[in-house]
Structure formats: C-alpha cells, structure tokens
C-alpha cells in the first residue's frame, strides 16, 4: 500500500505546466475599450461612486432649469457651490467611518460645537482666527478620537457611543453659546469672510490649469513606472481622455463661477480635501488598511494590523472633518448658533455618502461619493427654494426627488447589466 505515490508523481507534471503553458496571471495590456468596460463595471459595483447617479443629477438639473431658468444662472451656481461645501467636508469624514463599517451620529453635534468653540475662542477670547480654526478642528479630532476610544476599548456599539456624543456635544454647544444662544462673527471679519471669499477670475483658471497639469504629469510618471517594471500599463488613450475630461469640467465650472464673483473659497477647500481623501483612501498604506478593516476586521487583525488604532484614528478624522464643516458653516451663517448642525445635517451627510456609492456595511467607498452625493442633495434643496413651496410640499418634493434620483441610478445600472 503506497497511497503517497499518486501524489509524488504529480509535482513534475504540474511544475512543467507552469512553464510550458504559463498561467494567465495577467492578460496582455488591456486595450482602451476593455479598460473602459471594466472600469464601468467596477464603478457599477459601487466602488468609485455610482457612475449613473450622474444621470440622476443631470435629470434633476434639467427639470429644475425647465421650471425656473434662474436655476443654472451664474449666481445660483455660485450659491450651490457654497451650500454644498460645508456638508461635503463633513461627508468626507463620514466616508471614512462608513469604510470601516461603523457609524458616527455625533457629526452634526460636533459641527455645531465646532462653530461654538470657534466663536468662543475668536470672538470672546480674541484668538487669532486661524489659530482658532486650527484649535477647533483639533478639538473635533479629539472628541472623535475619544468616541473611537470608547467604541474600541469598551466595545460599545458605535451607534450608542456616538448617540451619547450627539447629546453630550449638543449640550456643550448650548453651554458654550451662553444665554443668548448665538455668537456673531462681525460682518467683514476674517471668519465671516472666509468661505464666501472668491478667487480672482484669473486665479481660478490658474488653479484649474495646475490641477490638470499635475494630473497629467502624475499619470505619465505612473505609466513610465509601469513600463519599466514590465507590468502592463493602462493605455495612453485612457490618460488622454481623462486629462481632457478633467480639463473641460474644471474650466467650465470656473468659467461659470467667474461669471458670478469667482470660485468661492469654500468650494476650493472642499475639493482639495476631497482630492486629499481620495489619495489617502486609494494610494496610501493607511487607506488600504482602513479598507481592510472595513472588509474583514478579523483578517486585518490577523495580518498584524492594529485594528483599534485604525478605528480610533478614523473616528478622529470624522470628528475633525465635522468640526471643519462647523467652521465653514459658521462662516457661511456669520454666527455660531444653537441650531447649527442638527439631525438633518447628520442624515444628509450620511445620505450623501451613500448616494455617492459608499456602502453602509464597510469596505467600499470613495471620497468622490461625498462630492457627487452633496451635488445631488444640494441641487434638490437649492431647486426647491426656487419653487417657493409651503413646508409640507417642500418635504414631499425633496423626499420624492431623492428617491427618484437614486432609482434612476438603480434602473440604469440594471439595464446595463441585462
């Protein structure tokens, strides 16, 4: 009896296979067409934000423009840019939290508390505004980290910890704002001028140019490294299309905003942060580990990743972004008030990320989902104001349009796959 024989004979046969018929480890460098197809497929899986939610967005724009032709006017686009920016910044933090499969209900409160802290520091205690902003964002980060700490060390569900945070920080916000409930940032002061300050038209174009050139150069460098390493590079055609597409979008947006007053600082902050988070999530070690924790926390732990540290850091980021959103919204309203950052902002900030394609269950999401998601929500809201509806109709229309926009997305996805 020698059962092991069977096995013994096989190795040679098989190792030969590996040489004589090389395993198709990587197909030959894909063509442009193939790449576009597979990217589209990937996007559809909710990876880089849903492609077809753009369809819903464009539909919303067309409908509102038909109803009121001021909708796409330069002034209103300028308004829209400012209106989505503070929520957008908050949603960037939400994307990170959702990536690790957790939830942060405190962001609305941290936003409001951030505004209050800024007001107390700058208005009541005469701090330098920029120092105040840094301190506020740092405070947000600390509060977030604290919640993350409780979440991980005491193993309390994040829903409960951050619900507690929501209430606690709301209380602090009220307390900081004192009896009057509001601290004003004087009109014309640094803070109230911050988010609405617009770039000079030339500066806007210059910035867009820099962005496009950076993208092109980095793309070329990556190509060269691919080629050098013998790893099949994406086709040059794709890069060209991407660069041209980016350039067209950026310049049209800048042109439209320049027709009003110029590109508002709020939008620039939001977009720069979005790019930062995109790089963080997709290109850095940290981002990869964050996604790993969201995908399979146990596997990440077994791979030697300090899962708790990742979680705490993500909650810190979420808190910091919420506080940053608070700074921007305080600047937008010109005051820190009790009603800043409530449950509506909370729900919309999460909804934006989800609409943009980030999964609520961890591991899948993109920084762009914050941008596209807030474009959808912001456009619906902004368009609603052009309709002058009474409250009840307002709610109904927003709810219906929201669901409709996501259904358009879902249906177009289904059509493409069947």
């Amino acid at each position: 009896m020698s059962p092991e024989r069977t096995v013994e004979e096989l190795p040679q046969a098989e190792t030969t296979t590996a040489t004589s018929e090389p395993a198709p480890l990587e197909p030959a460098a894909p063509t442009l067409g193939e790449l576009v197809r597979s990217r589209v497929k990937q996007i559809r899986k909710g990876d880089v934000g849903s492609l077809s939610v753009y369809l819903g967005l464009i539909l919303i724009w067309i409908v509102f423009q038909l109803i009121n032709n001021r909708f796409l006017s330069d002034d209103n686009v300028h308004n829209l840019a400012r209106q989505i920016s503070y929520g957008g910044v908050i949603s960037l933090g939400v994307v990170m939290v959702l990536l690790i499969g957790e939830v942060d209900l405190s962001i609305g409160s941290v936003c409001g508390l951030g505004a209050a802290i800024l007001a107390v520091l700058v208005q009541n205690n005469g701090w330098n505004p920029f120092l105040g902003i840094v301190a506020t964002v740092a405070a947000g980060g600390v509060l977030g980290a604290l919640q993350g700490f409780i979440r991980t060390r005491l193993n309390v569900p994040s829903f409960i910890v951050t619900l507690g945070g929501l209430l606690l920080f709301l209380g602090l916000q009220l307390r900081f704002l004192g009896k009057t409930g509001t601290i004003l940032f004087p009109f014309g002061g640094t803070i109230s001028q911050l988010e609405g300050r617009s770039l000079a038209p030339v500066a806007g174009y210059a910035l867009a140019t820099v962005a496009v050139v950076c993208f092109l150069v980095l793309g070329l460098i990556s190509r060269r490294r691919h080629v050098r390493s013998g790893v099949s590079a994406p086709p040059l055609g794709l890069l060209v299309i991407q660069v041209v597409g980016l350039a067209v979008v950026l310049f049209v947006v800048v042109w439209e905003l320049n027709r009003a007053v110029g590109v508002p600082l709020a939008l620039i902050i939001f977009l720069v942060l979005a790019v930062f988070f995109w790089v963080l999530i997709t290109q850095t070690r940290y981002g990869q580990r964050v996604r790993a924790v969201g995908g399979n926390a146990e596997a990440a732990r077994r791979a030697g990743i300090n899962v708790d540290r990742i979680r705490v850091s993500v909650f810190a980021i979420s808190g910091a972004m919420a506080a940053a959103g608070g700074v921007l919204s305080a600047s937008y309203v010109g005051a820190a008030s009790q009603d800043l950052g409530g449950s509506t902002l909370l729900l919309y900030s999460i909804a934006a990320a989800v609409i943009g394609g980030t999964s609520l269950f961890g591991g899948r999401g993109s920084a762009w989902s914050a941008v596209i998601g807030w474009l959808v929500i912001g456009s619906i809201y902004n368009g609603m104001y052009l309709l002058n509806l009474v409250s009840d109709l307002q709610y109904m229309v927003i709810g219906a349009v929201l669901v409709a926009a996501v259904i358009v997305d879902s249906i177009s996805r289904r059509r493409a796959t069947t």
Partner: protein, 337 residues
C-alpha cells in the same frame, strides 16, 4: 452676471417673505396668507417669493440667497435665528437689497422693523397669570414654567416673564425650555412637573404659547387635576380661545397679525419701488445698527374680552371659537347669542 436684480427695469416688484418655522401654527396658517393678501391689496403687480426655514438658520440663509438669485428687491425677514440673521441682512445689502425685519428683530443694517416687543409679551403673560392666581386666593405657591424654544423668541418671552415672576413671591417649582416648541415634549414636561411637585400644589402654569398650553392642560387633566390652575398662552389660536371659553386655559396673548402684515407689506412695497420708508422711532438692534422701528402692543385676551378683541378684529370668528362643544360655554360667556 446676466440678470442683476434690477430695481426699475421690470414693471412689477418682487418681495421675498422669509418665515422662520412651521411648528407653530401661526406662520403658515396666518402670517403667510395675511401677508399675501396685504401685498395684493396694496400693489397687485408685486410678486411674493415665500420661504419657510423650518427653524434652521443656515437653511434660511440658503433661502435668502435663493431669493436674491431670483431677483428679489426687498427681503421681509422673520429670522430663524435672531442674532445670526445679520449675515443675511448684510449679504442682501451688499447686493443692494434692503431688508425689513418682520415680527422678530434681526441683526445687521436693517431698513425697517415691524413687530412686537417680545419681552413685553412675556411680561403681559406673567402679569395676567398673577392677577388670576390672586383672584383664586393664592398670593404665593408653586408655579410651573413651560417656556418655548430657547433659540427663538421663546428666550424673550422667558426673559419678560421672569422679570415679573422673580419678584412676585411665587416659587418657580419646575421650569422647562421646550425645544422646537414641541407639544409632545411639553406633555411629558408637565407630567413630570406634576410628579415632582404633587398634583394639588400647583397654583399656576406659565405656558409660552397656546400649543404648549394645550399640552400642559392635557397632562394636568390626565393627572386628574381639577380645577385646572390658571394657564397662559400666546397667538390666540382657535384651540386656545376655545379652552379659554371652556375655562381650562386662563388667557392667551394676542398679536394683531393683520395690522402687522399690513405694515410690513406697506414698507416692503415702498422699498421695492425705491421709495423712502415712513418715519418711525430709531432703535438700536443687537448689532448696534439704528433701525426705524414700529412696535405693536400685545393684548392679553381672557374670556372677558374675546369678543371685543380677536373676534372684533376678524382674527377669529365666533363659529371657530365656539365649535366642538364650546357652544354652551360661549353662550354663557356672552360671545354668541
């Protein structure tokens, strides 16, 4: 920008009417239609852009921006947040659009203000309540305060009421701020006040408006308190007036909204046409700007003067007040028949 809000090029005028919230019935039920009527009556060529901010200051700011983008020539603003409204006023001014503060005061360089003195409203309520308590033979004892939302006019009412109560000899045994003017919360507040103080030891209840008063009355009746001690209110709602007739609420505070909307509409139309506003006493607002201010007096309404105030003004009809089982009581009070 292709379409600047132009003052004279269009034949008519565009007025933006920005209201603060939708939980209290008065705004969408009374202010909105009354203002539309007033504008229509005074200048039918004027278009009104209507907004309701649902208690959110940033939302109101977005609405104001939207109004400006739609070419509004004047903003009539009842601020969701009294203090932070300065940003709206300033942004409008920067675009050459004047702002009229309506009902509540606002910050910033206002062109005009019409409304009520809200601290005075609180004093009116408190004084009326003390009068009723004394009439019932209580010159001291426990009272409950159900205040409105602290980030709205509720703060001014509370301030006025405290100015009266604090030196009155009554003990404020329980006091709550009611976020969002929520009657649901107010019910629980009153229930817990009863649990805290005891069902028979409450001599009066300060409720900041009629909605809260209704909740307080419900809670007391469920706790089997009888008779119901004096309860205050505000806004002269149909339900409130009915309770007054039935004797479960002592008073409500009546703001003559018709007069208020008429005054606001008049000023707004003048401003929209680039004409000067009527003279009024200058008052400094929170941001230190001098504002021509026209204040109307609040009126305490009890069962004795319902007929001569709200009904006489056409603010409520005797049919509305006396419906739903209040007919007999109305007849007894001399409101009908």
């Amino acid at each position: 920008a292709e379409v600047q809000p132009s003052r004279s090029s269009e034949g008519g005028c565009t007025i933006a009417f920005l209201l603060p919230e939708n939980t209290t019935p008065r705004y969408e039920a009374k202010d909105h239609p009354l203002f539309l009527d007033a504008v229509k009556a005074q200048d039918s060529s004027c278009k009104v852009l209507y907004f309701n901010a649902a208690n959110a200051a940033d939302k109101q700011q977005q609405q104001a921006e939207s109004a400006l983008a739609q070419g509004a020539q004047v903003l009539v603003l009842d601020p969701a947040n009294v203090n932070s409204s300065a940003a709206i006023v300033q942004e409008a001014k920067a675009k050459g659009v004047p702002t009229v503060a309506y009902d509540r005061t606002a910050g910033g360089p206002l062109a005009y203000r019409t409304g009520f003195d809200n601290v005075e409203v609180g004093k009116t309520q408190a004084n009326a309540m003390i009068k009723a308590m004394q009439a019932a033979g209580h010159s001291s004892g426990n009272i409950v305060m159900i205040n409105g939302a602290p980030d709205t006019t509720g703060a001014f009412f509370k301030q006025g009421a405290h100015e009266v109560f604090d030196k009155s000899g009554y003990k404020i045994a329980a006091e709550y701020d009611t976020d969002g003017w929520s009657p649901t919360n107010a019910t629980t507040e009153m229930t817990q006040a009863v649990a805290k103080i005891g069902a028979h030891d409450i001599v009066g209840v300060y409720a900041a408006n009629d909605t809260l008063a209704g909740a307080a009355v419900t809670a007391m009746r469920q706790a089997n308190i009888s008779p119901i001690p004096p309860v205050t209110g505000l806004d002269a709602t149909d339900e409130g007036l009915q309770r007054i007739v039935l004797g479960t609420q002592y008073m409500t505070t009546y703001k003559n909204l018709k007069a208020e909307t008429n005054a606001a509409a008049k000023v707004a139309i003048l401003l929209a046409h680039g004409k000067p506003v009527p003279p009024a006493p200058m008052v400094k607002n929170a941001t230190g700007d001098d504002v021509p201010t026209q204040l109307l007096p609040p009126i305490a309404v009890t069962v004795d003067n319902i007929k001569s105030t709200v009904i006489a003004d056409g603010f409520a009809t005797s049919a509305e007040v006396c419906g739903g089982g209040a007919a007999d009581a109305c007849a007894r009070a001399g409101i009908t028949g």
